[in-house]
C-alpha cells in the first residue's frame, strides 16, 4: 500500500513502461484528521463575563435612567410649585407699576405736574426755558379726577395714602380690612427718625 502522494507517481511515470490503466480505482488515502482540540476555557470565561458585564451595564444604566426620571419628576414638581408661586406674586403686583397708580401716589404726596420744562445746561450753568417755579395746581388731577381706570388695582390702597385708591373713593374699612390696612401702612411707611440717622454700633 503506497503512501506516496499522487504527484510522485506522475513524476516517475516517464521512466516506467506504459502506465497501467486501473479504471474504477479512485479511492485515495487521506491523512488522518488532526485530533479535535479541547476548547480553551479562557475564551468561554471572557464571553460569559462580557455578556454579564453588558447585562450589568445595561441594568445599571436603566437604574440610573429610572433614578434620573424620579429626579426629573421631583424637579418638575418643584418647578411647578415655583411657577405657581411666581404666578401668585405676579397677580399680587399686577398693575402696581401702571402710570396712573404712580401718579395718584405722587399726587397724594402733594406733588404736581408742572408746566413748561426747564433745563440746566451743565457746560455754562445756563437755565434754559422759562425758569419759573411751579405755582398753583397740577396740569391734571390724577387723584381727584382719575379718568384712566385700571380694574387690576381698582381696590388697591395707595401706598402714600392708604385711605384712597386710584379711583379716589375711600376704601371701605371693615373690621378685618381695618386691621390689615393698618399693618400695611406700618410696612410701607418707615418709622420716623427721632435722633439722627441710625448708625450700626461697633466696638
Amino acid at each position: 500500500m503506497s503512501t506516496l502522494p499522487l504527484n510522485s507517481a506522475v513524476a516517475t511515470a516517464a521512466a516506467l513502461p506504459a502506465p497501467i490503466q486501473r479504471p474504477g480505482r479512485r479511492l485515495e488515502v487521506v491523512a488522518a484528521p488532526a485530533p479535535r482540540r479541547r476548547p480553551r476555557l479562557l475564551y468561554g470565561i471572557i464571553a460569559v463575563a462580557g455578556a454579564v458585564t453588558i447585562g450589568a451595564a445595561q441594568m445599571g444604566l436603566s437604574i440610573l435612567t429610572t433614578q434620573g426620571s424620579y429626579e426629573v419628576a421631583q424637579l418638575t414638581r418643584e418647578a411647578r410649585d415655583l411657577t405657581y408661586q411666581k404666578q401668585i406674586l405676579t397677580d399680587d403686583v399686577a398693575g402696581l407699576n401702571s402710570p396712573q397708580f404712580l401718579a395718584a401716589n405722587a399726587s397724594a404726596l402733594g406733588m404736581v405736574i408742572a408746566e413748561s420744562p426747564n433745563y440746566l445746561r451743565l457746560s455754562d450753568g445756563a437755565v434754559l426755558g422759562a425758569g419759573e417755579a411751579a405755582l398753583g395746581g397740577s396740569s391734571i388731577d390724577a387723584l381727584g379726577r382719575p379718568a384712566v381706570p385700571n380694574a387690576l388695582i381698582a381696590e388697591a390702597p395707595l401706598v402714600t395714602a392708604p385711605q384712597s385708591t386710584i379711583e379716589g373713593v375711600p376704601v371701605v374699612p371693615d373690621a378685618v380690612a381695618g386691621a390689615g390696612g393698618a399693618a400695611a401702612t406700618d410696612a410701607a411707611t418707615p418709622p420716623p427718625i427721632t435722633d439722627g440717622l441710625p448708625v450700626p454700633r461697633t466696638h
Binding site: S139, A147, A151
Partner: protein, 592 residues
C-alpha cells in the same frame, strides 16, 4: 414521452404556486392596508393603548410692549374649577395623625371662603346639576380662578374637584392705550385693536406630548413623544405709555370740562411717522370690557372720519406755493361774505371789513373767502392731485379694521360750491390720523412718512420682524413745506388763541379746525367737531400734536381745544426732553 405521469406533477406545481401567490398577495394587500391606507388610525389606536397619557402643550400668547419695552398686555393663567356632582360627599382628612371625616357642608363652606361664594351657593350648584341629570359628572364650581385660589382649593384635597388651566390676557396698565390694544373674547379670540390686527405675531402654536406613566405617575424613560409648543412673538408698539396715560387723563378732564361727547389727542413723530400717543375719551379698560359702553370699546380716532375744516387750509397754502402761483406774501382782497362768479357763496366765521389779506393773514384769520381766492389760482384737478398726495381719501398704512379711507370725490363730481369748499377743508372727509399725517409731511420738509403703530415683532426664536411699510413720498418741495410751517407759526403767534396755546420758551406752529357734524337732517345746528393741530417745536419740527373735541358745549368753537392743546404740547416737549428754542418767530404781515 409526456404522459399523464410527467404532466401531472408539473400541473400540481403550478397549482400550488398559484395558491401560494394568491395567499401571498392577500397578505400583501392586507399589509398595505394596515401600513399605508389606514396607518394613521392604527398608529393612533396603538398610542392610545400603549402610551398612557397625552397632553396638549399650550404656547403663551406674546406680550405687547410699548416703545420702551414696558408691558401693555401680558398673558397669565386662570383656572376653571370643576365639580364632579355624582361623587360629591364627605372627605377624609388627617388631622394630627387621626383620620376624620369632614362633611360636605363644611367642605363647601371652606371652598366658598376661597372662591367668594357661600356654602349654600356651592351646594346649590351640585344639587342643580344632579337635578338636571342624576348621573352628572360635571358642573362648574367657578371659572376664572386666580392661581392663589386654585392652590388653596387644591390644598383642600377634595377628590371631586378638578381644575383646568386656561390662558387669559391681562393689561397691567388698565385703560392706558386700551383703545389701541383691543381685547380678547372669553374664547381666547382677539376682538379688537392690535390684538386683532397683529394676531399673526402674537398667537402661539400649540404642541402636544404623549408618554407612558408608571403606577406612581412617573414618566417611563424613553416613552415620551413631544412636539413643543411655540410661544407667540413680542409685539413692540411705537406708543409711549407714560405720555399716553397723561394725554388720556388730560383729554378725559377736558371732555368733561367742555361737556363734549368725546375727545382725542394724537401725537406723531415728524421724522418717522410713528404714532407716539393716541389718547381718547371715553375709552375701554381691556381688563374690564363690560365696564364700557359698546360704542366706547373701539377707537374713534381710527374709525371716525369727518370734514376736517380749517386745518386743511394749510394744504391749500402748500399747494399754491408748491405750484409756484403764490408766496406767503401774495395778497388777495376779501370781504367776510362773497358770491363768486360761478354762483358759489362763501362766508367767514368772523365778520371783518374788506381786507387785503396776505396768504399768511388768510391763515391767521382762517378766512374762507380769502382761501377760496387763493385756491382758485389752481385748477380743480391740480388741487385734487395735491389733496391726494397729502393722503386725502387714501386711508393710512395702519390698516385698522374698518378704518375709513376717507372720501375725496373726483373733480367731475365737484359742483360750484365744492370747487371752493375744498379750499377750506370741506367737501371731503378724513380721519384724525390722516390729518396729522398731512401735517407730518409739512413738518418734515414735504416728505410724507407712512404712519406706523408697530415697531417690530420679535418671534419666539429671536427673529425680529419689522412691518412692511410703503415708501415715503415727497408731496411738496421742502421750500413750500417750510414756508407753510412758518406761516402756521405766525398763526400760533398772531391768531386770537396765541396767549392760550403758548408754551414758554418754545416756538409752536398751530391751526384750528371746526367741522360741521352730520346729523339726521343735514348738518347739526350749533355743534361742531373741533380740532387744533400743531407742529412742535416749529424751528426744528419733531412732533405733530392734534387735539379734537367732538361737540363741546361750554365753548362751541375750536377755542375749546386751547387748554388741551397747550397742556398736551407741554407734556410732549417735556416727555421727549426737547430743548427750548433759542430764537423768536419771524413775524410775517397779515395784510398789506
Amino acid at each position: 414521452m409526456t404522459t399523464r405521469a410527467t404532466r401531472s406533477p408539473r400541473r400540481r406545481t403550478v397549482a400550488a404556486l398559484a395558491v401560494v401567490l394568491a395567499v401571498l398577495s392577500g397578505f400583501i394587500l392586507r399589509l398595505v392596508d394596515i401600513q399605508v391606507v389606514n396607518a394613521d388610525e392604527h398608529i393612533a389606536d396603538s398610542q392610545a393603548l400603549a402610551l398612557g397619557a397625552h397632553e396638549e402643550l399650550y404656547g403663551t400668547r406674546g406680550e405687547v410692549v410699548d416703545a420702551d419695552g414696558e408691558p401693555l398686555a401680558t398673558s397669565i393663567l386662570k383656572y376653571d374649577g370643576k365639580l364632579d356632582p355624582l361623587n360629591v360627599g364627605p372627605i377624609q382628612r388627617e388631622i394630627d395623625g387621626v383620620t376624620v371625616e369632614v362633611p360636605w357642608e363644611q367642605v363647601a363652606a371652606e371652598m366658598g371662603a376661597i372662591t367668594g361664594q357661600s356654602a349654600d351657593e356651592i351646594m346649590k350648584i351640585v344639587d342643580d346639576a344632579l337635578a338636571a341629570d342624576p348621573g352628572s359628572r360635571f358642573a362648574y364650581l367657578k371659572r376664572g380662578l386666580t392661581t392663589e385660589q386654585y392652590r388653596e382649593l387644591a390644598a383642600l384635597r377634595a377628590p371631586f374637584v378638578r381644575f383646568d388651566p386656561h390662558p387669559e390676557r391681562t393689561y397691567p396698565d388698565g385703560a392706558v392705550a386700551g383703545n389701541l390694544l383691543g381685547f380678547m373674547g372669553s374664547d381666547g379670540q382677539p376682538l379688537a385693536g392690535v390684538e386683532q390686527i397683529e394676531n399673526a405675531c402674537l398667537a402661539p402654536t400649540d404642541g402636544e406630548r404623549s408618554y407612558q406613566r408608571g403606577a406612581d405617575g412617573v414618566v417611563i424613560p424613553g416613552t415620551e413623544i413631544e412636539t413643543p409648543a411655540v410661544d407667540g412673538g413680542t409685539l413692540q408698539l411705537t406708543i409711549d405709555r407714560d405720555l399716553q396715560w397723561y394725554l388720556q387723563q388730560l383729554i378725559a378732564e377736558e371732555v368733561q370740562n367742555k361737556q363734549a361727547s368725546s375727545g382725542a389727542i394724537f401725537v406723531l413723530e415728524v421724522a418717522t411717522g410713528k404714532i407716539r400717543a393716541a389718547a381718547e375719551y371715553p375709552t375701554v379698560d381691556p381688563n374690564n370690557v363690560d365696564g364700557s359702553a359698546p360704542e366706547d370699546r373701539g377707537s374713534r380716532l381710527f374709525l371716525e372720519s369727518y370734514e376736517p375744516g380749517s386745518t386743511l387750509k394749510a394744504i391749500t397754502a402748500a399747494s399754491v406755493i408748491d405750484a409756484g402761483v403764490a408766496t406767503p406774501m401774495t395778497t388777495v382782497t376779501a370781504g367776510d361774505y362773497e358770491t363768486f362768479p360761478n354762483g358759489a357763496r362763501v362766508g367767514d366765521f368772523e365778520s371783518h371789513p374788506v381786507l387785503n389779506y396776505t396768504l399768511t393773514g388768510a391763515l391767521i384769520d382762517s378766512s374762507n373767502v380769502a382761501l377760496s381766492k387763493f385756491g382758485e389760482m389752481l385748477s380743480a384737478d391740480t388741487r385734487h392731485a395735491y389733496l391726494q398726495r397729502f393722503g386725502v381719501g387714501q386711508g393710512t398704512a395702519i390698516n385698522w379694521p374698518q378704518e375709513p379711507q376717507g372720501v375725496l370725490h373726483p373733480t367731475s363730481e365737484w359742483d360750484n360750491q365744492t370747487f371752493y369748499a375744498t379750499t377750506f377743508g370741506q367737501g371731503y372727509t378724513m380721519t384724525s390720523p390722516q390729518v396729522a399725517s398731512a401735517y407730518q409731511a409739512l413738518a418734515n420738509g414735504g416728505l410724507k412718512m407712512p404712519l406706523s403703530i408697530v415697531e417690530s415683532c420679535t418671534l419666539a426664536d429671536g427673529t425680529v420682524v419689522e412691518p412692511d411699510l410703503p415708501e415715503p413720498e415727497q408731496v411738496v418741495s421742502k421750500e413750500a413745506a417750510d414756508a407753510v410751517t412758518l406761516m402756521l407759526e405766525n398763526v400760533a403767534v398772531q391768531a386770537q388763541m396765541a396767549d392760550y396755546i403758548a408754551v414758554d420758551g418754545y416756538r409752536i406752529a398751530a391751526k384750528t379746525g371746526t367741522a360741521q357734524v352730520a346729523g339726521e337732517n343735514g348738518y347739526k345746528a350749533g355743534v361742531y367737531f373741533t380740532s387744533l393741530i400743531g407742529i412742535v417745536p416749529a424751528d426744528d419740527p419733531q412732533y405733530v400734536v392734534l387735539t379734537t373735541l367732538d361737540e363741546p358745549t361750554t365753548i362751541r368753537s375750536s377755542a375749546a381745544n386751547r387748554q388741551a392743546f397747550q397742556k398736551a404740547v407741554t407734556q410732549v416737549l417735556k416727555n421727549y426732553r426737547v430743548l427750548p428754542s433759542d430764537s423768536q418767530t419771524p413775524i410775517l404781515p397779515k395784510t398789506q
